[in-house]
């Protein structure tokens, strides 16, 4: 597995797609800080519930503020990162050397997880710095121990993202084509963004609402004490999503004929 990870590292060093991912994740926090400044200059008052990030302290919630952007960027990156291996036939190079499919799948997942972690870290750090520079560090009301809160909220938000990353990896291994993976990943992201709201309005599917990570990512306020109390639930849903999607992905991949 370490050998496969080393190979991935060599590929990523020259990857333009990775560069684009990081460029977007670097651009957004800086742009949003400047945009917020402009809005304030035009008389708008920033509201944490609506704007999510309003100062340096709330900058830790950059993932929450940019949830959809991160998911779309990561889904595109993963679709190409895995789909092209099938399309270029390079997947044969590793598998024909007797590398196990389980290890191959996990190496791709680990790389996708590391790239998304680095991406959201960069985004969060830049968000905190730029918002602190413009609006000061400030505070989050009703949060006593900021360091502990920052760690918990960031970890939870990252896990929610990781659960989706795991779904995208699964989709890519099932579809074996970057274009098709991209479409399905996009549809999944959009559908699970809307579905919870629809489920909420039904009698039978109401309970399903909180089994989608997007429910938390898109509809929860991570600075709200009531929602902060549901971090453990979010972690459980994320972990379950990762385990189930990875299991399905690995089982499919093990049965897949490689062209």
């Amino acid at each position: 597995m370490l050998n496969l990870l080393t190979a991935e590292q060599i590929k990523l060093k020259r990857s333009k797609k990775l560069l684009i991912v990081f460029s977007i994740l670097v651009f957004f926090p800086i742009f949003q800080a400047l945009n917020s400044q402009m809005m304030v200059d035009h008389g708008k008052e920033l509201n944490q519930v609506v704007d999510t990030v309003i100062n340096g302290a709330t900058g830790i919630l950059m993932i929450d503020k940019n949830g959809l952007t991160i998911l779309l960027v990561m889904s595109a990156f993963i679709s190409f990162f895995i789909g092209e291996e099938f399309q270029n036939g390079t997947i044969r190079n590793a598998l024909s050397l007797g590398r196990s499919r389980l290890h191959y799948y996990l190496s791709k997942f680990v790389i996708a997880a590391v790239v998304s972690l680095l991406g959201v870290l960069v985004m969060t750090i830049l968000g905190m710095i730029s918002f602190t520079t413009i609006f000061g560090f400030g505070e989050i009301p009703e949060v006593g121990n900021y360091v502990s809160y920052a760690f918990e909220s960031f970890s939870t938000l990252y896990l929610l993202i990781l659960a989706n990353v795991s779904i995208y990896v699964m989709i890519s291994f099932i579809t074996k084509n970057s274009g098709i993976a991209l479409i399905w990943s996009f549809l999944y992201t959009i559908a699970t963004g809307f579905l919870p709201d629809i489920f909420q309005q039904t009698e039978h599917f109401k309970e399903l609402t909180y089994w989608f990570t997007e429910t938390f990512l898109f509809y929860f306020n991570f600075a709200d004490p009531g929602h902060i109390a549901r971090f453990p639930e979010m972690i459980v849903v994320s972990i379950l999503t990762i385990v189930i999607s990875s299991t399905i992905g690995i089982l499919f991949f093990k049965r897949t004929d490689i062209k």
């Binding site: 060599i10 333009k16 270029n88 044969r92 190079n93 050397l97 007797g98 004929d257 490689i258 062209k259």
Partner: protein, 305 residues
């Protein structure tokens, strides 16, 4: 007796209603250059994928380097290299980087890279990305990539596909060098028997997923019949001379050509007799039945090989 590298026993693979492989069995021993020949869709690539563990089989067993169980086969594949169909290269990486990736995949050192680039005449490719390589360069890089793990058994699927005549000769020389200098056993496929005959030591003919014939180089030479090809402006008179010489096994192909299937070592005598009888001989010489014709005869004739 030399060691068995690969033994396939009744390998079958079905896609829907189409039988891609139908109880294929054969054996490859160390040092062989085994040429797998068949028309497009005969099952050559499918069989190679089976060997490399890229697709599952519906039926049959395989032995690789003496290993038969799943884990053992996985271990055995680390002693192999493959280039199946299109060269599996990373288009945005250079030749060197492609080799580094494969070295990492195989868990081997990068020491061999310079030597392999030199061996495949890619040492001057520098920062040029694989996507900008010519097909010949890509094929050579694909082979270099298979060699980085120092394999004992190479599986090459149509390695000359799309190459120009010079590229084909070069690829043939490379494969020859690998066999003679490194002692590598090779399984290679082609849909052109003529081309394979210049390199392979053994042949397996696949047709509609079935292995219909196996033969050695010597057997192929015997079976692909030799004959004397005579070209003249006066076929009628030439035939009379042949009759006078007691030659019965010949075939008048058209108004200018006659193929003679006996007294193959007597070309000089036949030529002399024709000249003595004032028959203009435009060309005479021993030739071989076209291997492609032989292949077509075997596979039923209609399909182009």
């Amino acid at each position: 007796m030399s060691e068995t590298i690969l033994k396939a026993m009744n390998i079958s693979k079905q896609y829907g209603n189409h039988k891609a492989l139908d109880k294929v069995s054969f054996e490859i021993k160390r040092g062989m250059i085994y040429g797998l020949i068949g028309e497009n869709g005969a099952g050559k690539s499918t069989f190679m994928r089976v060997i490399m563990g890229l697709i599952t089989v519906d039926e049959g067993n395989m032995e690789l380097f003496g290993e038969t169980d799943r884990k053992g086969l996985q271990r055995a594949r680390r002693r192999m290299g493959q280039s199946i169909e299109t060269p599996g290269l990373y288009p945005d990486l250079t030749a060197r980087e492609n080799l580094r990736v494969q070295a990492a995949n195989g868990g081997v050192s990068e020491r061999e890279i310079d030597h392999l680039l030199e061996l495949m005449k890619l040492e001057h490719s520098g920062k040029k990305k694989a996507k900008n390589f010519s097909l010949g360069m890509r094929q050579r890089l694909a082979i270099a990539s298979t060699l980085i793990t120092n394999p004992e058994f190479l599986v090459l699927d149509e390695p000359t596909n799309g190459l120009d005549p010079a590229g084909i000769v070069e690829m043939r020389e490379i494969i020859h060098r690998l066999v003679t200098q490194r002692g590598i056993t090779v399984l290679l496929s082609s849909h052109l028997l003529d081309e394979l005959s210049q390199i392979a030591t053994h042949y397996g003919i696949l047709h509609h997923g079935k292995l219909i014939k196996e033969l050695s180089k010597e057997e192929l030479a015997r079976e692909a019949r030799q004959y004397i090809e005579l070209e003249t402006t006066e076929v009628q008179r030439a035939v009379t001379v042949l009759d006078e010489l007691g030659i019965r096994d010949y075939e008048v192909k058209n108004q200018h050509e006659v193929n003679i299937f006996e007294r193959l070592d007597d070309v000089a005598t036949i030529n002399r007799s024709l000249v003595k009888a004032d028959v203009d001989v435009l060309r005479i010489g021993t030739t071989r039945q076209k291997l492609e014709d032989y292949f077509l005869n075997l596979t039923g004739g209609k399909t182009h090989a």
